[in-house]
């Protein structure tokens, strides 16, 4: 073998003996949450969903400002008008309607005042569909958020107590969970809806009363693990109060579970609201929710399909976006689960 010629001075020792502790080379250490955020924002699908949901939430929050009309104001003469986008002549959005095989300007027929245009048309009572959808989305989101909150308020403490106490308490609490979860969700929800007065609060309660079980189960399982972690044990030995341990050590470590589960509770709640309203025991008239709009739309669907399309699309978008965002969050919190 040929031995390379190397200048003599290159054989000087570097005196590595002293620095036994080597600096770790690698990507700068990010905190866990920063890392989660970075991974989430790297996920294009999740970002798109987050943006869509943000827009929808924004519109819902500012519904009174954004909605062009009062959603419940009826105009008997202006009923079932097709969508019209200003004076633009876009097929499907020009106020024309197929009547007996001919396209007719529906707005002219009912002698709508000049300049009247409904972006998404009107329903059978002459109410502006766009405004109803904006308000309906708002109501559906309120139901979902409230139901999720109640769900968290019951599920988290229940799970923590059950997991933390263990033993007999846990046993009893778990039996209760088993019974509650062995009755089909929908049956409980429907029974609750029959007993309670129809309305927002009833729906929220009906949904939350079955949904908390899943959350409680997950939290319990995690608490069981966390309980044995060193820092929690240390806090216990140091005599920190249970509440303090729960808020300082448990909740932060449970946050990923909570956030991810929440992303699955929300679409579930939205679905149940729509379902109940669709079969007629949900949000009472005249208020709109995505469910009631769908139900109304379905009745007129054959002749006026646009009345069904709009709420169906919005509902589907919300469901898809929350589900996908949930997936994205899970991957972000737990990188092993993806790739």
């Amino acid at each position: 073998m040929e031995i390379p010629q190397i200048p003599k001075d290159k054989f000087k020792f570097l005196n590595n003996a002293g620095n036994k502790e080597q600096e770790k080379i690698g990507t700068p250490a990010l905190t866990y949450m920063q890392d989660v955020r970075r991974r989430l924002f790297k996920n294009k699908v999740a970002v798109v969903c987050l943006t869509l949901l943000t827009i929808i939430v924004f519109i819902s929050v500012f519904a009174p400002i954004i909605a062009p009309y009062n959603p419940n104001a009826q105009h008997a003469t202006l009923s079932n008008l097709p969508p019209k986008l200003g004076n633009l002549n876009i097929p499907g959005f020009n106020g024309y309607q197929n009547m007996g095989g001919k396209m007719v300007d529906a707005y002219a027929q009912v002698h709508a005042p000049k300049g009247t245009h409904y972006l998404l048309g009107t329903d059978y009572l002459g109410r502006d569909l766009l405004s109803r959808i904006i308000y309906g989305t708002r109501l559906s989101l309120i139901v979902a958020v409230l139901a999720t909150l109640v769900d968290l308020l019951i599920g988290i403490p229940y799970g923590i107590v059950s997991g933390w106490k263990g033993g007999m308490t846990d046993n009893v609490m778990q039996r209760i969970v088993e019974i509650v979860s062995s009755v089909p969700n929908l049956i409980v929800v429907i029974l609750m809806m029959i007993i309670l007065k129809p309305g927002l609060i009833s729906i929220v309660l009906a949904i939350a009363i079955t949904d908390w079980v899943t959350m409680a189960r997950l939290i319990r399982a995690q608490t069981f693990q966390l309980k044995e972690q060193e820092y929690v044990l240390a806090a216990r030995t140091l005599g920190e109060s249970s509440t303090k341990i729960a808020t300082k050590h448990l909740i932060p470590n449970l946050s990923s579970t909570i956030i991810i589960q929440t992303m699955f509770t929300i679409p579930n709640a939205i679905f149940f609201e729509a379902f109940l309203s669709f079969i007629g025991i949900g949000i009472p008239a005249p208020n709109a929710s995505l469910g009631t709009l769908l139900s109304d739309g379905q009745k007129a669907f054959r002749f006026l399909p646009y009345q069904m399309w709009a709420p169906a699309i919005i509902l589907s978008i919300i469901m898809i976006a929350t589900n996908l965002l949930g997936d994205g969050l899970r991957d972000a919190f737990d990188p092993q689960s993806s790739d």
Binding site: M1, I3, P4, I6, K8, D9, K10, F11, K12, F13, L14, N16, A17, K20, E21, Q22, K24, I25, G26, T27, D339
Partner: protein, 347 residues
């Protein structure tokens, strides 16, 4: 001896989120019929990737971007999928690291052991099962006939590893790759498994590539040893040469961190300080330099070539350059040198 396997200038990269991991950076070795080659090195040094490249059992993000793997003179890297399937489990087979998870939990072990025969030899199912039973007895599973219909979870860890070995040898492979076959087991079982492998090697004449990071195991089983660091071999030679005449400071470190019968109470075991380099961006010079007590300026600038120590013994360190200053190795290593002298004298 004829070389049945020759790996030349093997390079393996992994595409990851953070960039390209250069896991294997030019590995060369060969294997002769019936011999045992041990590959040792720290966790992450690339031992598994090296041997998995031979069977092309690498993750999807892996890319063997350079090199040849000659098996009886034919490049395995150029073989089609189907040709590779014919080699795996037939000519070359592999024992995996973790016996607890290496067996299909929903298939009886009889079927699992017989499977390679059915895939390759086109023997009847009955014959295959008969042979499976025989091999299970050979690896020391008691009552193999009855236990053929049991599932993996009904066996202990040591027994499962024996079953995994049975699967690997049932087709009498020419090369057996054992990737840390004993790490997950307790010491007594480890010893039994090693003895079993040696016994089997004598019976069926298989060449073995044995991977471990436990040098203690190596002396008992290997003919030759290769020391691996950061995706490269840094030293290789016969067992005696590497154990008693080591030349690379990394080998010194490894040997120094290994308890031996000769280690007296007051000789404390040294572990090598620091961590291996980031293979996303490997250093320009010798990868071991930052952890090397004897590092020189040249180590930072240029990778050392292999210097020949004997016909069978090579090491890649600039310390072997004729112009390099002489160094005194750690005390434990000096003792080894003495022993090596005695070995030489006695021969």
């Amino acid at each position: 001896m004829d070389k049945i396997l020759e790996v030349k200038d093997l390079h393996v990269n992994f595409a990851t989120y953070n960039g390209t991991v250069q896991a294997i950076r030019g590995v060369n070795f060969d294997l002769s019929a019936g011999e045992t080659l041990a590959i040792v090195g720290e966790s992450g040094s690339g031992k598994s990737i090296t041997v998995r490249s031979i069977l092309q059992l690498l993750a999807k993000n892996a890319d063997i971007n350079k090199g040849t793997i000659l098996y009886h003179g034919e490049d395995l890297l150029k073989k089609s999928k189907k040709e590779m399937d014919n080699i795996r489990g037939n000519k070359i087979s592999m024992i995996f690291q973790d016996p607890m998870t290496s067996l299909d939990p929903t298939m009886t072990i009889g079927k699992q052991v017989a499977e390679p025969l059915l895939i390759h030899n086109k023997v009847s199912k009955k014959e295959a099962l008969g042979r499976a039973e025989e091999v299970l007895r050979l690896v020391g599973i008691p009552n193999p006939k009855e236990r053929m219909n049991d599932y993996p979870h009904q066996f202990s860890g040591g027994q499962r590893q024996r079953i995994v070995i049975a699967i690997a040898i049932v087709d009498y492979p020419e090369i057996l790759i054992a990737d840390e076959p004993t790490t997950a087991l307790d010491v007594t079982v480890q010893a039994q498994i090693i003895d079993l492998l040696k016994e089997l090697q004598q019976k069926i004449g298989t060449a073995i590539i044995f991977i471990t990071h436990d040098l203690g195991v190596v002396a008992g089983i290997a003919d030759r040893v290769a020391v691996m660091y950061a995706g490269k071999f840094v030293e290789y030679g016969s067992v005696d040469e590497v154990f008693y005449n080591p030349q690379h400071p990394y080998t010194w470190g490894l040997l120094d961190s290994m308890p031996t019968l000769d280690t007296s109470e007051d000789d404390h075991l040294n572990s090598i300080p620091g961590t291996p380099p980031n293979l996303l961006d490997p250093p320009k010079g010798d990868a071991f330099a930052p952890r090397n007590e004897y590092a020189m300026q040249i180590d930072l600038e240029e990778q050392p070539p292999f210097f020949k120590i004997s016909k069978t013994h090579y090491a890649a360190t600039w310390l072997l350059h004729p112009d390099a200053p002489k160094v005194t190795p750690p005390k434990g290593i000096q003792k080894r040198f003495e022993k090596f002298k005695k070995l030489g004298d006695s021969k």
